[in-house]
Amino acid sequence: MPGGAPAGGWTMYPPLVLQTGDAFPYLIFAIHFMGASSIAGAINIIATVFNMRAPGMTLMKLPLFVWTWIITAFLLIASIPVLAGAVTMLLTDKFFGTAFFSAAGGGDPVMFQHIFWFFGHPEVYILILPAFGIVSAIIPTFARKPLFGYGSMVYATGAIAFLSFIVWAHHMFTVGMPLAGELFFMYTTVLIAVPTGVKIFNWIATMWRGSMTFETPMLFALAFVVLFTIGGFSGLMLGVTPVDFQYHDTYFVVAHFHYVLVTGAVFALMAGAYFWLPKWTGHMYNETLGKWHFWLSTISVNVLFFPQHFLGLAGMPRRIPDYAVQFSDFNMVSSIGGFVYGASQILFVVVVVKCARGGEKATDEVWEGAQGLEWTLPSPPPFHSFTEAPDPSSITGGNR
């Protein structure tokens, strides 16, 4: 497309993004398109969970995965339309002469950052809350104990969701906000560590004196707990305004969000994929290959992202391809980790394909300690899963 890819990266800050060539309206409309489908999907989830639960499945008996999903759906409905508004203003600034983000016309480019991050911060919880839900399903299964502190998990998820709407400007501490703004957004941001800490504590307490086994889903879930915590702590560092002035737009930020989104969200996805693969396909996956996939991924992902903390603290900026030579050694290490991590994912594809094509037959329950309605269905489940409301009391052990 003439003019190349959208200028300004995924955050689409004006005025840079307005210099995009022909790709510009496609960028905006693609966001509208995905936003519309996200809202439709979120509405579907809310109606399904609140209206179509099985008799006796009260809200405080829902699997935590369902809870995290419903809270994610609320985040989507409240934040995506705001993004739609923001990109619509970009579109009219570019094509219809408006001056939302042009100071020459009385607008302000920083205003885009505020509107964008009002969406952008809830968005990162949209990515991570379902991951929390997956991990909350897997750890009790392989620890063979009910989830510790179920109620506090639900309330912590709700608290995280609420706080996510009043922390957005921590992405723009260095943009020149009034002091009151800097302080407010610092305190609210740091406050999020409390409900998140509750969750980490509960996962660890669930494992305490459990009879644990370490199949691949559990390994990924454990790695999630440890590595997401690292990402959480670096987030805490970034949330403190005075030190963020040092870290802002450096590789430290890159390291932070890759710890929360790769070793966090992606690892939880991996854990969930291994956890439910036998249910989906009707076959057990190859455990040896799964373990190889886990160890290669976990080691290489740390080689990939951990040195980026050092690079950032030493001052390497983000988004600048021709960095200064003193950073090249750590970048080399990071690149090696990156290639190994990428290559290890081929193993995952092999595992999935092999599992889909055959293998040891999976039982209905699949995992010894599995709890939840899906494990009462055959593997793979029939079309439409349940055509009449199931009886949740048939779940062995109950959900708590």
Binding site: A47, G85, G107, M111
Partner: protein, 297 residues
């Protein structure tokens, strides 16, 4: 399960919908519209035709999909549980619309409370004002822009107590007539229902026409356009999106009117009517916000 069933289905049975091609048809229609629209904005020659094809497909989809659902509803396919799902769906759809308008109201608030005063030298904006635009002074409506030559200038805005005030009265009245029509439906009086809905639709049309005339006045006589800096931008995007929603709401209510004339709905089951009425009240409330924050203060 709470007992909400009024139909023959027991609540233990889920309503399992048949397969449908409408979702993918809708996707293809919207995708075609976007590709066409993007090509058109880039100055391409075929864009406008692709856009028209997408739009036609979209309208066909609306007729087809809603037609299918209306047919199923009239045939008594849906049980009480489905009715509640529809209600939840509409409530949260309207909430998403509220958040869409919140983005534009937020922009208006930010411009008036922060960015325009900063440009005028308040707070941390002293250096910007001194070095870039020392002539610039904070005002709202912002008639004098920092770089006026690049924008369309205007001397006057649309006052609150003319057409906008009449439009407020029109929309408030239409909200009342809509509720009055609902009473008619509930007591089973078709005549009363159809009269109330007809007046509501007529008021909606009058509102849109008056807005269009007012836009013409702003563009032609006042010089107030989309290109009039932050005032024009917030003014036209807020009132424009609202006007678009009123248009959609009017079309929705007109559809319901047609269904009422055909004898659809009973005094106890008429969610289609209620959904459109909720939407209409939402549009009404947004207008009150516009009248206060855009036109009045």
């Amino acid at each position: 399960m709470r007992d909400t069933g009024t139909m023959s289905n027991t609540n233990a049975d889920y309503y399992v919908p048949h397969s449908s091609h409408w979702p993918i048809t809708a996707t293809v229609a919207i995708f075609t519209m976007f590709i066409g629209g993007a090509n058109f904005l880039n100055g391409g020659e075929v864009g406008v035709y692709i856009l028209a094809i997408g739009l036609a497909l979209f309208v066909y989809m609306l007729f087809g999909w809603f037609g299918t659902v209306i047919g199923e509803s009239e045939a008594g396919t849906f049980n009480g549980q489905v009715d509640i799902s529809f209600r939840m769906g509409m409530v949260w759809f309207i909430f998403s619309e509220v958040m869409f308008f919140a983005a534009f109201f937020g922009a208006l608030y930010y411009a008036r409370m922060y960015s325009v005063p900063w440009l005028g030298g308040e707070g941390s904006g002293a250096a910007t004002n001194q070095f870039l635009w020392p002539e610039f002074a904070t005002a709202w409506p912002l008639l004098q822009l920092p770089e006026a030559y690049a924008f369309s200038t205007f001397k006057e805005t649309i006052g609150a107590w003319g057409v906008p005030f009449y439009n407020t009265m029109i929309l408030l009245t239409s909200g009342a007539t809509c509720t009055w029509a609902h009473w008619g439906l509930k007591i089973g009086s078709r005549k009363h229902l159809i009269a109330g809905l007809s007046v509501t639709v007529a008021l909606g049309i009058i509102f849109v026409i008056m807005q269009a005339v007012e836009y013409g006045h702003a563009y032609n006589e006042l010089g107030l356009t989309l290109n009039s800096g932050i005032y024009g931008a917030t003014f036209f995007l807020l009132t424009g999106f609202h006007g678009f929603h009123v248009t959609m709401g009017t079309i929705m209510l007109a559809t319901i009117l047609g269904r009422c004339i055909k004898g659809h709905f009973t005094h106890e089951r008429h969610f289609g009517f209620e959904a459109c009425a909720w939407y209409w009240h939402f549009v009404d409330v947004v207008w009150i916000g516009l009248f206060i924050f855009v036109y009045w203060i």
